[in-house]
């Protein structure tokens, strides 16, 4: 595979699609479950937090020029730390893609294809992402940039079509379970921005690395806007007590949309658009897995490796025995592993790497003079 060179809009959309896919699937439920009716305030707060975090990340990555966090890990702790960090990220990617895949496939099976077996749906998704990876990584990113615009428009149309059924009373009480719950425990809701992991990895693949800060801010702002939009639409749409129990809340809201008496139950059309979203996301995950493995393990040819990775994702996706286990994985394990890997471990590595670089920089300066 040739080296990827992404331009400004393409890389911004790459990061946005992570958040959007999680939003369409189960994430708003867990957000609302944590913070209750204060979710709108909480999501705005979390967006601002994410912007602050990104500005810190940008500053920490500055002395390393065009390199991403894997290079920082190598710089900090040699090859061992690099391999540990890479394996951690790989495990994270495989885990989230498998859980999402299983969730979406179960959903498709329940709603539209009751008699199909689960493995056919899973393997269809994975085979498509493999075929598309064979066509070239740059083409996936291009197609993703083209598809993002209909997807974003569809979400806005969904939110607008629901306006007649929203009830503003459901936002009260405004601070939900309390100030401490909203702002301190609710800060864990930042796992919604796990797309920041892609920002940490993307720097060497940019055409013009001066755009890095612009890309980061743009993608976080777009993700934040859509997060607030969907969470507020869902919060005002359904009573929040029952929201926490259901799956795929955005699907439920599309079931309700009706345009006069003529178009009702238009949820199949939205499903069509979300299939693109999900396929795009899956292909991007497989692409990133192969790219960072290429970087760390110095692989020359990646096709065989991507087949193995897809097979592992398939196996992990078949692991949960039933939907209860799946929900547990998705709400609890995903949340805390996301926070742990993206926000804790990466931060520690970045900070230590930055300090070491500054120390070395000082040392060199001292020696020269």
């Amino acid at each position: 595979m040739n080296n990827l060179k992404l331009n400004y809009l393409e890389s911004a959309f790459l990061v946005v699609i992570v958040t959007i896919t999680h939003l369409i699937l189960n994430m708003p439920n867990t957000l609302i479950e944590t913070t209750g009716s204060a979710s709108i305030i909480n999501t705005i707060y979390v967006t601002v937090l994410a912007l602050l975090l990104f500005s810190i990340i940008k500053k920490l990555l500055d002395p390393f020029e065009n390199n991403n966090i894997i290079y920082v890990a190598e710089f900090l702790g040699g090859k061992i730390l690099k391999i540990i960090i890479t394996v951690l990220y790989l495990a994270h990617f495989i885990f989230i893609s498998a859980i999402l895949l299983r969730n979406f496939a179960e959903f498709l099976k329940i709603i539209y294809f009751p008699q199909a077996s689960l493995w056919t749906i899973l393997s269809a998704f994975l085979l498509v992402s493999l075929i598309v990876n064979r066509l070239g990584g740059k083409n996936i990113v291009k197609a993703n940039a083209i598809l993002m615009i209909p997807i974003l428009l569809t979400i806005v149309i969904t939110a607008i079509s629901l306006i007649g059924k929203l009830e503003f009373n459901r936002v009260f009480p405004i601070l939900g379970y309390g100030f401490k719950e909203t702002f301190f425990n609710g800060a864990t809701n930042i796992y919604a921005f796990s797309g920041i992991l892609y920002l940490l990895l993307i720097k060497p693949y940019l055409k013009n690395s001066k755009n890095f800060s612009k890309i980061g801010y743009l993608s976080i702002i777009i993700s934040g806007i859509y997060l607030v939009l969907i969470v507020s639409a869902l919060l005002m749409m359904f009573p929040y007590i029952q929201l926490g129990n259901d799956t795929l809340s955005v699907y439920l809201s599309t079931r309700i949309i009706e345009y006069g008496k003529f178009m009702q139950r238009t949820d199949a059309i939205y499903m069509f658009v979300w299939i693109f979203d999900f396929l795009s996301y899956l292909s991007i995950i497989v692409l990133f897995i192969t790219q960072i493995s290429k970087q760390s393990f110095n692989l020359k040819k990646t096709p065989l490796y991507s087949y193995i990775v897809a097979f592992i994702i398939f196996i992990v996706a078949m692991l949960p025995n039933n939907t209860t286990e799946l929900e547990f994985f998705e709400t609890t394990i995903y949340k805390y592993s996301s926070i742990g890997i993206v926000f804790v471990v990466s931060f520690i590595v970045l900070v230590l790497g930055y300090l070491k670089k500054k120390k070395e920089g000082n040392k060199i300066r001292y020696e020269v003079t």
């Binding site: 498509v128 003529f262 139950r265 396929l279």
Partner: protein
């Protein structure tokens, strides 16, 4: 009849039967040796040797239209033997008679002139010194005796053969070791007519013809620029057909031009008679059916593309030209778009975009919805669909495939039907097949409407080969929709989109300007107002990207 003959006939086979079997392997009498021996020769000094060579090379004893006319040339009271070689029907006989044979054969003042030309004169010491030009028969004939506008010297018999075959007349003279190549072509050809397949209401009605020189003359007539370059090359060993490349030297990217010339020059084939084949031979990606160059028969469309910075390839004997590089959006643009107000043009472009989607997806979506997603249909429509389908014995997929295939058969038959029967076939096809099939309860009327809409939208696509591509891929989507509903169609669209993103047409990304998503001006699908079209398309990497100044309507400014 004799009894003897009768018994003889019974015993032996009839001698009336004529059998001819084409042997698989070449028989020894059929080898190409004489041709090989004749190649790579140069004109001889002796006229008789030249005559013998020409007779054997051009098969003049077999060919009834290869003509050789021997005569004597008078030059300065000397006589030389000579002959001309031409193919009857391809030369202008009057021009040869008046301007070649006449001045050479008849005694005139110029060919009996005895003196020699004075170069310079000088007077020194009361003595006049004159320098005279040494007499050279070749220079004399070329400069003074052949009043024809296109005469060249040739030495190689291979070039002579090529030129005779394309309609030139060659003059051989005794004791001269080269020949004169006289271009006096005249043959019957089709005149410039209306375009047959691409109609435009408010544009020019000129179309290309089969003759290469006429085509290049049309382009030159309509594009007055000294930077317009028309380069010529030949393709094919057996059929040395001429091919011309036209571009604007100060606009088109030079790397692009060299790439086009490189690909055209490196085609090692014996013959190439169709431009469709040429289009496929110079494609970047060979595993798709999608075309990667625009083919057009309209002159104004080709000129527009040259002015934008693209390259036009004209091929002899075909009235179509191909334009490279091409992007996906060019296949959905029509030459009428710049003639009308940009608002209407944009509406039409949007309609064409929709018709692209409908042609590709409508039958697939219909079968996906009726099989897997019935709840999408409004109640009233659903009940009328069920009511109309209640007596139909087939499943939806069988109906669709039946009707699609019969429609393709009708279309194919319509191409070849003789014109007196043309309208009959239309009536037969549409009315009888459709109406009677509905009344016999073989298909449902909603499906007929579906297929008819799909067929009509496929005619809304401006490019001929692109609509073929869509017609075939439609079956793929029908199959996917039947097997897996919206999920299958979603997968199909996604893979199709990524595949199209990976295509390139002469180095330009096929889905430019949307594939590497940039924010350059002047690139998009929808047209700007004419006073805002300031730049050429950035993906063509032209040398001169500014087309208009910022305020092109200077008359508005005070």
């Amino acid at each position: 009849m004799n009894i003897k003959d009768f018994f003889y006939k019974l015993n032996n086979e009839s001698k009336d039967s004529h059998e001819f079997i084409l042997p698989n392997k070449e028989s020894s009498s059929d080898k190409l040796q004489p041709e090989k021996m004749l190649k790579n020769r140069f004109v001889y000094n002796n006229l008789d040797v030249n005559l013998e060579y020409v007779n054997s090379r051009f098969n003049s004893f077999l060919n009834s239209d290869v003509k050789i006319r021997e005569f004597l040339i008078h030059v300065k009271s000397r006589q030389y033997k000579a002959f001309i070689l031409y193919i009857d029907g391809m030369i202008d006989k009057n021009s040869i008679n008046d301007f070649v044979l006449n001045p050479l054969m008849l005694r005139t003042r110029s060919n009996t002139y005895e003196g020699s030309q004075i170069i310079s004169e000088a007077i020194a010491n009361n003595i006049m010194v004159r320098k005279r030009k040494k007499f050279n028969i070749v220079d004399y004939i070329l400069d003074s005796l052949l009043p024809h506008n296109d005469v060249e010297r040739v030495k190689s018999f291979d070039k002579i053969a090529d030129d005779v075959a394309s309609g030139n007349c060659i003059l051989f003279i005794d004791t001269v070791n080269f020949a004169f190549d006289i271009d006096a072509k005249k043959f019957d050809k089709r005149s410039i007519a209306e375009p047959k397949n691409e109609h435009v209401i408010m544009g020019s009605q000129e179309a290309f013809v089969e003759n290469l020189r006429t085509n290049t003359s049309i382009i030159r007539r309509n594009l007055h620029n000294e930077n317009l370059v028309v380069e010529s090359l030949t393709i094919g060993e057996d059929n040395k057909n001429e091919c011309a490349i036209c571009y604007l030297k100060n606009v088109a990217n030079s790397d692009l031009v060299s790439e086009v010339k490189y690909r055209l020059n490196n085609l090692e084939i014996d013959y190439l008679t169709s431009i469709g084949e040429l289009q496929q031979l110079i494609k970047d990606d060979i595993d798709t059916t999608i075309p990667e160059s625009i083919s057009t028969e309209r002159v104004d469309k080709a000129i527009n593309h040259i002015l934008q910075g693209r390259i036009v390839v004209i091929y002899n004997s075909v009235p179509y030209v191909i334009v490279v590089p091409a992007t996906f959006l060019d296949f959905l643009s029509s030459p009428e778009d710049i003639n009308i107000h940009h608002f209407f043009a944009n509406l039409l472009k949007i309609i064409r975009g929709f018709s692209f989607l409908i042609t590709l997806l409508l039958p697939g979506l219909y079968i996906a919805i009726t099989t897997y997603h019935c709840e999408l249909i409004p109640t009233g429509l659903l009940f009328s669909i069920i009511a109309s389908r209640s007596n139909v014995p087939f499943m939806v997929i069988v109906e669709i495939i039946l009707m699609e295939i019969s429609f393709e058969i009708i279309r194919e038959a319509g191409v070849r039907v003789p014109s007196p029967l043309g309208s009959t076939v239309g009536i037969v096809g549409a009315l009888i097949l459709g109406q009677a099939a509905v009344q016999a309860d073989i298909v449902s009327p909603i499906l007929i409407i579906n297929i008819a809409i799909t067929a009509i939208t496929s005619f809304a696509i401006p490019d001929y080969i692109f609509s073929f591509h869509l017609r075939i891929n439609r079956f793929l989507f029908v199959l996917l929709g039947f097997l897996a509903g919206f999920f299958g169609i979603g997968i199909g669209i996604f893979v199709y989109l990524v595949k199209m993103c990976s295509l390139k047409s002469f180095g330009v990304s096929f889905l430019a300007p949307y594939a590497p998503l940039t924010r350059d001006k002047g690139n998009g699908y929808l047209l700007d107002s004419p006073w805002k079209r300031e730049k050429r398309a950035s993906y063509l990497a032209t040398k001169k990207s500014q087309v208009q100044k910022e305020t092109s309507m200077k008359w508005r400014k005070k």
